[in-house]
């Protein structure tokens, strides 16, 4: 039997903060197990966003009047909160983007395509990356003639670190890796990966889309050079993302978007960039999104990221144990919850993942199915698709039990 969960989080009180969790789906209780795709939002975040529009909507960094001052103060306040959340040295190391995808593209373009990468320079990635940490590097290959290399994974879903050592050469300029796999849940040893990258003179770019919402992150301890994540997976609004970059690397990176806000002066035919991080924020930014993200950071910080991580480890352990007891059900990724996050991909013999998701949907249970934007990883495991349940602070063992009952229902239908 699974150990009864220690009370790390007051889940009923947390659930009460999420208006959407009060609704039903076809008269069934909503069991939301797709937070790896996007998280639900607490009323604190929704209110912060709507407060901006109803009380002090104005453009930032321009308006002289009071509303503009307030908007700028809140927008920059959000930047300070995000910087503190990941232990950045300064808010100037935080650029707001629209998504993790844009953040990684900004690095690939501004540091790669428009930057110092030369023909024959090597970029080392891994086969477990999300498409958003694959495709931007294809651009660098296509435009600069960079050589792409990939670290494989072991059958247990961990990276082949000895192969990583072999791939590193004095031509390696960039190493890029996810801190946490969106399919396997694997938490990669990024501190060690960055250290080895630095030893050959490469920088380390970290995709933290699945990590930032679920575990404490310390960019200084990781010694990450760039680190990207999104607001919407960590209780914040959609359309707001973050790129962290070490000050000197930010300064060495060219902007992706030219326009207002990102300039110091503009003349016919040429312009001077604004200081970091503003040179990366061309155009009116997603002000409400940033303010909402700031409120999300406040919410998570109040709970404590150690408690968030601890809660999800217990949920994952409980789920893996329950699913292991179901005949004909396979789970993927590390079995040791110390090495993984609360993302549980699974398959059921005789039932396609889309059918699994459809049947669970009838029961009010939301899971993702498909290739999870990680086709190279799916090919590595010879899987056309998996179903995926993912947990967050508002999930409890009842949700796992509902999933298990739903899986049994799937097995009945496809028996």
């Amino acid at each position: 039997m699974a150990k009864p969960a220690k009370i790390l989080l007051n889940v009923p009180a947390i659930k009460a903060d999420f208006p959407i969790l009060q609704r039903t789906v076809r008269d069934k209780r909503l069991v939301y197990l797709d937070s790896a795709a996007t998280s639900q939002k607490p009323k604190q975040v929704i209110d912060a966003t709507s407060d901006f529009y109803s009380r002090y909507n104005a453009n930032v960094h321009r308006a002289i009047y009071e509303l503009g001052e307030e908007a700028t103060r809140e927008y920059e306040g959000a930047r300070e909160k995000v910087a503190a959340f990941i232990q950045a040295k300064s808010p100037s190391e935080i650029a707001f983007t629209k998504s993790t995808t844009e953040s990684i593209n900004l690095v690939a373009y501004g540091y790669g395509v428009k930057g110092k990468i030369q023909k024959g320079d090597e970029i080392v990635g891994t086969v477990m990356e999300h498409h958003s940490n694959h495709v931007p590097w294809h651009f660098v290959k296509d435009h600069k003639g960079a050589v792409l290399k990939y670290v494989d994974v072991n059958d247990d879903g961990t990276l082949k670190m000895e192969q990583y050592d072999e791939l590193l050469t004095n031509r390696t300029k960039i190493v890029t890796v996810t801190l946490c796999s969106n399919v396997l849940g694997t938490i990669n040893p990024v501190k060690e990966i960055a250290k080895r990258a630095h030893e050959v003179g490469a920088i380390c770019v970290v995709d933290a889309a699945q990590a930032a919402p679920h575990m404490p992150i310390d960019v200084q301890s990781l010694d990450a050079d760039f680190l990207a994540f999104s607001g919407h997976k960590m209780l914040g609004p959609t359309g707001i993302g973050v790129l962290y970059g070490k000050q000197e690397l930010f300064e060495a990176t060219e902007p992706l978007l030219g326009g207002g806000e990102m300039i110091r002066e503009v003349h016919l035919g040429w312009a001077k960039w604004n200081d970091v991080p503003y040179k990366f924020e061309g155009g009116t930014p997603n002000i409400a999104g940033a303010i909402g993200l700031g409120a999300a950071v406040d919410y998570l910080t109040k709970i404590g990221m150690d408690a968030v991580r601890g809660h999800e480890m217990e949920m994952t352990e409980y789920a893996l144990e329950k699913l292991a007891r179901l005949k004909g059900v396979q789970t993927y990724g590390p079995k040791d919850v110390n090495k993984r996050a609360g993302v549980v991909s699974f398959t059921i013999d005789g039932a396609h993942p889309h059918d699994i998701a459809s049947i669970l949907d009838v029961e009010g249970i939301c899971v993702r199915s498909g290739h999870h934007c990680a086709q190279p990883l799916m090919e590595r495991f010879s899987l056309p698709a998996t179903a995926r349940a993912s947990f967050y602070i508002y999930n409890d063992v009842d949700d796992v039990d509902a999933l298990v009952a739903g899986i049994k229902r799937v097995q009945e239908v496809f028996a």
Partner: protein, 130 residues
């Protein structure tokens, strides 16, 4: 129609578990393949016409969810022996009527993939929405 277990009626599950006309087809004169990028469902259709412009034989190959594979199996039973002109005139409504199950917008793409591939095989413009 509401989304419910009706999607997995006996007929659908039967075609999924025991697909008709599945496999390669030697001497096929028209072939096409496509996949659903969202789901990865894949359907390949092989068609062989006889001397009087009739679909003498049709087979499918593929992988994917029950809806996509059952609909491919059912489509082959519909068009086998059909005059080419009738097959060309086959629309989404006829296929959906034959399936007879409630489908959400996303699963509609699974259900219509095989019709889309048939249109490709027959060299027709395809707009069935996959």
């Amino acid at each position: 129609m509401s989304i419910s277990y009706d999607m997995y009626q006996e007929q659908i599950l039967d075609h999924y578990k025991h697909p008709r006309n599945k496999g390669p087809l030697a001497g096929a004169t028209k072939n096409a393949r496509d996949s659903n990028p969202l789901c990865g469902d894949e359907v390949v259709l092989h068609v062989k016409l006889d001397g009087s412009e009739r679909i003498a034989e049709v087979k499918f190959e593929g992988q994917g969810c029950a809806i996509s594979q059952a609909s491919a199996s059912m489509l082959t039973t519909m068009v086998k022996g059909m005059p080419l002109s009738d097959a060309e005139g086959l629309g989404r409504d006829a296929v959906l009527k034959k399936l007879g199950i409630p489908l959400s917008a996303v699963r509609l793409k699974c259900a219509l993939l095989s019709l889309h591939v048939l249109k490709l095989a027959l060299g027709q413009k395809t707009d069935v929405g996959t």
